[in-house]
């Protein structure tokens, strides 16, 4: 058994969380509230250290007065506590939204649209070895059919009837197969998290595994 008090605390809290597998109980509730409360405190410190101190305190102490502009804009959020001037807090929200949307449109076009279209282009060399799993014609055509049908599934301006229904049905099959693969992959990752926690309990806490 470990003699480190922190290992004991971590192990007992882990067991408290696992106790939910049986049913909701006071021990689980204690651990849950402790976790939520601690995370708030931790985040306050993190926000101060990583943002407020870095981007406000240091620049102002170095007399970089330009910092006062974004700082003033950020402080407009505080007007939510003044009912008559609450509308002022919409200014920083509007600025944030505008900047992010303006920034993301070209990025999405470049990173998602153009790259996806490039990856969909079939070439004549694919005819040489049609069954090649990397660069064969069959794979190339599957990608084209998958992309076109999936895009058509997300077409909302028409009812899915006739050919559009067929195409969108094929599209949702592609989507679901993709989700299935993603599901399996993520479940594996979650299993490794569980294994990590059990390893901690058996190795560092009770020293059953050495």
């Amino acid at each position: 058994m470990s003699t480190d008090i922190w290992v004991w605390i971590a192990a007992l809290l882990s067991l408290a969380i696992f106790s939910y597998l049986y049913k909701d109980n006071p021990v689980f509730r204690f651990a849950e509230h402790l976790f939520t409360g601690l995370s708030v405190g931790y985040m306050i410190v993190l926000m101060w250290n990583n943002y407020a101190y870095q981007y406000i305190v240091i620049p102002i102490s170095q007399q970089r007065w330009i910092t006062l502009i974004p700082m003033a804009l950020g402080m407009l959020y505080l007007f939510r506590f003044v009912p008559k001037l609450q509308h002022l807090m919409l200014i920083p929200i509007a600025i944030t939204l505008g900047i992010w949307n303006g920034w993301s449109i070209p990025v999405v076009i470049e990173a998602d649209l153009f790259k996806q279209m490039q990856g969909t282009m079939v070439n004549t060399t694919m005819f040489q070895n049609p069954w090649d799993p990397h660069n064969g014609l069959v794979v190339g055509l599957l990608v084209v059919v998958g992309v076109v049908c999936t895009v058509l599934y997300f077409y909302f301006s028409r009812e899915h009837r006739g050919p559009l229904k067929v195409a969108s049905s094929v599209g949702i099959w592609f989507v679901m197969i993709g989700f299935g693969a993603s599901f399996g992959y993520t479940v594996m990752a979650r299993m490794s998290l569980l294994i990590g926690r059990i390893q901690f309990l058996f190795t560092e806490w009770i020293h059953l595994i050495k």
């Binding site: 076009i109 470049e110 153009f114 993709g178 599901f183």
Partner: protein
């Protein structure tokens, strides 16, 4: 006895050998000289934000013999500067003959470059200084003209449809399966006398999924105001929390029930991802909402939330554009809005001309993309040269 004598003699011999002066080791021969790189050219890096100069050179003739290990690039303010004033700014292995100095101290000032070739055997030789080059910043990146044209085209289509919608033109949007369940879910909660839980995702207000989630929240809040059903809206982001509070308050006012609005129904939990998940799980376990909405952006906590909700027996409606979390929602929820369905749902429910116009614009853009894709594919199969042209058009610098 005889063997001891032999060993003794051997030891004595070794000792004598050690005490004798060692013959001088032959000095290492100087490595064979290597020929310096040829003409070094420096120029401002195009389409950048300044403070960068691109340098290229003719490789050392010895590179073809496999003798070269790499090239070291130096910068100085004067072509005639002494050795100590040349600053090393880069290294490239053999096979490459260009480098980019991205640490130019000042724009608009002349700098010179030299390239030192280093051989595998340790010899080196330095080139002549390059032409003077000065870095500058450009306002426009011509390599991204294609992205600009595509963005403008997309914006133009969206603006056109928003204008149409604002003029009152009917824009058809097909009904999405998951939306039919919203009313049913609110009704069920009312009948059971239990609250409705609405989680507007864990992302910030700048995320499109969050905005779509808040639009849906507004519609759900109208229904809860109508039926007088308690609503719980836990938040992770302080700004989203503020906006969500306004959205719910406005929805209650629109229905004519401002008195029914409970200020504490929209609340902040914590900024920590798993702390938030833990808090929401606790709410689901103790308050036992009849309906759970998970709309917006989610990460690894998606299954933790949806699984707990399913265990409490609630009807669950989820909607997200997080591709990796969708499988979990599809598995654990009754209805799931997949990707763009979330945005479409928000437009469908809100009936806001801006949202409807944007959705229509997206639809037409998608149709255009499919057409271009099929046409480009057909053309590239007919004439393989066209493929290279199309790929070139789609390449962003």
């Amino acid at each position: 006895m005889r063997s001891i004598t032999v060993i003794g003699l051997i030891l004595l011999g070794s000792a004598a050998a050690l005490t004798q002066p060692m013959p001088a080791a032959p000095a290492d021969p100087a490595p064979p000289p290597v020929q310096p790189p040829g003409l070094v050219t420096a120029m401002d890096t195009p389409n950048d934000a300044g403070n960068s100069i691109s340098v290229d050179w003719r490789p050392s003739p010895d590179e073809a013999q496999g003798l070269v290990e790499g090239y070291v690039v130096y910068r100085s303010e004067s072509a005639e500067a002494p050795e100590s004033l040349w600053t090393r700014v880069g290294y490239v292995p053999y096979g490459l003959n260009q480098s980019r100095d991205q640490s130019v101290p000042e724009n608009g000032m002349d700098f010179f470059y030299r390239v030192r070739v280093v051989s595998r055997l340790g010899a080196s030789a330095v080139s002549q200084a390059s032409n003077p080059a000065r870095s500058s910043e450009q306002w426009y990146n011509s390599m991204r003209t294609n992205a600009l044209i595509a963005s403008l085209l997309f914006v133009a289509i969206v603006v056109y449809f928003i204008t149409m919608a604002q003029k009152g033109q009917h824009l058809f949007v097909r009904r999405i399966a998951g939306l039919s369940a919203v009313e049913e879910a609110v009704g069920r909660a009312t009948e059971m006398g239990r609250p409705i839980l609405f989680v507007p995702g864990l992302s910030s207000i700048s995320d499109v999924a969050t905005i779509a989630a808040l639009n849906i929240l507004g519609q759900v809040a109208k229904k809860t105001a109508e039926y007088d059903t308690p609503l719980l809206v836990p938040n992770r982001d302080p700004v989203v929390y503020t906006v969500a509070q306004e959205v719910v308050k406005e929805a209650y006012s629109e229905i004519g029930r401002p008195d029914a609005y409970n200020h504490d129904s929209v609340f902040y939990l914590t900024d920590s991802q798993m702390g938030f998940a833990s808090g929401v799980d606790g709410i689901m376990t103790r308050e036992r909402p009849a309906t759970n909405f998970f709309m917006g952006m989610f990460w690894a906590e998606s299954l933790i939330l949806a699984e707990t909700g399913a265990a409490t027996g609630a009807i669950q409606i989820a909607g997200t554009d997080a591709i990796h979390q969708l499988p979990f929602f599809i598995t654990a929820c009754d209805y799931t809005l997949i990707g763009e369905e979330l945005y479409a749902a928000s437009a469908y429910l809100a009936r806001d001309p801006k949202l409807l116009g944007t959705l229509k614009g997206q639809d037409w853009s998608k149709a255009l993309i499919v057409l271009l894709l099929v046409a480009g594919l057909a053309l590239s199969l007919i004439n393989p040269g066209v493929r290279g042209f199309i790929l070139n058009i789609l390449t962003v610098g």
